[in-house]
Amino acid sequence: MNESAITIENLTKKFEDKTAVEDLSLKVFKGELFGLLGPNGAGKTTTISILCGLIKPTSGSAKIFDYDIQKETQKVKEQIGVCIQETAIYPYLTGIENLELFGKLYGMNKKTIKERSNMLLTNMALKEDAKRVTAKYSGGMKRRLSLALALIHDPQIAFLDEPTIAMDPQSRHAVWDFIKEQKTKGKAIILTTHYMEEAEELCDRIGIIDRGRLIALGTPKELIAKNQVKNLEEVFIQLTGRNMREEL
């Protein structure tokens, strides 16, 4: 697990007078599930958006394997899968049609798309509803399909931005099992979540980010021990304070 999948060096992103990410340096390794935690507006989503090529950093650099995110964007896009915060699925397509569409956008052949779709639909408990238009899906089903879309092309690196939000406990645990399975296949996963028990359950290492700066880094056990508290939630509160924050 010591081969670097993501290398971030001195990454900074400023929006006019506001700094969303400040001098962030970080490495995520192959086969590692890395939790990126922080209050609303801390800079988590901005960091992921930079890593997947949606926005350009103000300064600093980042690499996905050996590909520079700014110079080799197309290569980077082929390596990554992103489950974005929005439940972005086409409502007038069926579940299977959404998967087929994105499989084709990733250049996959029909046979592989079919195999991957079947596997993902089964794991996400959507097999029976695969041929229904997604406008009729519940919120949880849409989130599960959104996660499946992010992984249709079997990416080496997955960015999961609050993947289990709005899911019932059963669905959440099913997704946790699936994420763990991906890790065992050597995938690198960056997970952002507001559920501390989720981070504690899944993540090998955790980085806590606040006001754009990385303020803590380590395994869940290390962070709990270092801050002399009972669990990760208390670590989080202790480091970031109790005040509510505005979204960036």
Partner: protein, 386 residues
């Protein structure tokens, strides 16, 4: 460019059109219902009258001094309602008529002066007259010209023979002819070319809504994360909406055909009409993108799209014929005007596809549509990433 991606996104767009009832209605059912309602109830073009009619005269009179044909031409010129152009041959006159440059052509026959002379020599002995016919070719693309010009010419002829033709015989008969089949044109014939243009104008709204909705629900972000390039995405959008425009044109044609619009033109003319509508649809994608660049939400896009829909509709399609001179002049700044003009020339005037007017219309439509699309893409890319 990866064609698998373009094809996949095109198919997706087509499925959206078929499965979303609001889209299906706006794109397909609305034009059909509109064509039916408009075609069934439209009774004419209101009170807007052309002040003068531009008439071409071809003098083939074989009499040595052209005495009577000259009188006839002078009398025509003296009519304030007519503007007369003299042509040396029928071919040039017919070419101008087919391109809408003039509204009628009078062919003065070889025996014209002989006929008048014979009549004057024996006004009460019809068996001694040299009978002749004056062919009158009319612009079948102008409802007003077809109705107004024949009586005026008939009146001028009457002054020459100095007779009231309603009661007395005359050696000269005015025969209305047409470049296409001689038939009584209905109101539908005059509005049908505009209907072809009209059908795809609402694509502006659909494109604007589609882009803003995809932006709102995160789909645009998901597409951008995938390896799909901006050019592949835009190509899929243009191809999709061109396909939709083609289906719209086919449906509108079927509808107008069923209601009695049967222009006597060949397959190349129909093919040209569909190609023109396809090219025109590109401008609607462009206008849709411009709208989506400005609009912050899909509901705002719906309202803003009318800034482009209404001028295209009122200044450039069949409605334009009943507008003021200033409004018709303004119509020359919208692409739909040239589409309607070309279709009217082809379907109603029988203009050859290679005639200067048609080629000019095609050139204006092609250049302006590509320019509008480019502006749309540049603006959209400036404000929102593709």
């Amino acid at each position: 460019m990866n064609f698998q991606r373009v094809l996949a996104l095109t198919k997706k767009e087509m499925k959206k059109t078929i499965r979303e009832l609001a889209v299906l209605f706006m794109i397909f059912l609305f034009p059909i219902v509109f064509v039916f309602a408009f075609g069934a109830s439209f009774g004419g073009f209101g009170g807007s009258q052309t002040a003068t009619y531009h008439v071409g005269v071809v003098n083939l009179d074989s009499a040595s001094n052209h005495q009577w044909s000259q009188v006839f031409t002078n009398n025509l010129s003296n009519m304030s309602i007519l503007t007369i152009s003299i042509y040396t041959n029928n071919q040039t006159a017919q070419s101008d008529l087919s391109q809408g440059k003039i509204q009628a052509v009078i062919l003065i026959p070889a025996s014209f002066s002989d006929s008048i002379t014979s009549y004057n020599s024996a006004p009460n002995q019809p068996n001694q007259w040299v009978n002749t016919t004056v062919p009158l070719y009319l612009d079948k693309g102008s409802l007003i010209a077809t109705q107004a010009v024949p009586p005026i010419i008939g009146q001028v002829l009457t002054t020459i023979t100095n007779q009231n033709q309603q009661f007395l015989q005359s050696p000269i008969q005015l025969q209305t002819a047409s470049l296409v089949s001689v038939k009584q044109s209905s109101s539908l014939d005059f509005i049908a070319p505009g209907m072809f243009t009209f059908a795809s104008i609402f694509l502006i709204m659909m494109v604007a809504q589609s882009f803003t909705q995809d932006r709102e629900n995160g789909m645009m972000k998901r597409i951008r994360i995938s390896p799909t390039t901006p050019s592949e995405f835009m190509a899929s959008q243009v191809v999709s909406y061109m396909g939709i425009a083609l289906i719209q044109a086919a449906l509108v044609f079927a509808m107008t055909y069923a209601m009695g619009f049967k222009p006597a033109v060949g397959i190349p003319a129909y093919a040209f009409a569909f190609i023109l509508v396809l090219v025109f649809s590109v401008s609607n994608v462009g206008f849709g993108l411009i709208t989506a660049s400005v609009a912050k939400s899909s509901s705002a896009a719906t309202g803003l799209s009318f800034l482009f829909v209404l001028p295209q509709l009122f200044l450039g399609t069949f409605v334009g014929a009943s507008l003021s001179g200033a409004a018709q002049m303004a119509g020359k700044f919208v692409p739909s005007y040239y589409v309607t003009d070309a279709l009217t020339s082809v379907f109603l005037r029988g203009a050859p596809l290679g005639s200067p007017t048609i080629l000019l219309d095609l050139a204006v439509v092609s250049v302006s549509c590509v320019a509008i699309l480019v502006v749309g893409i540049v603006l959209y890319a400036k404000y929102y990433k593709i």
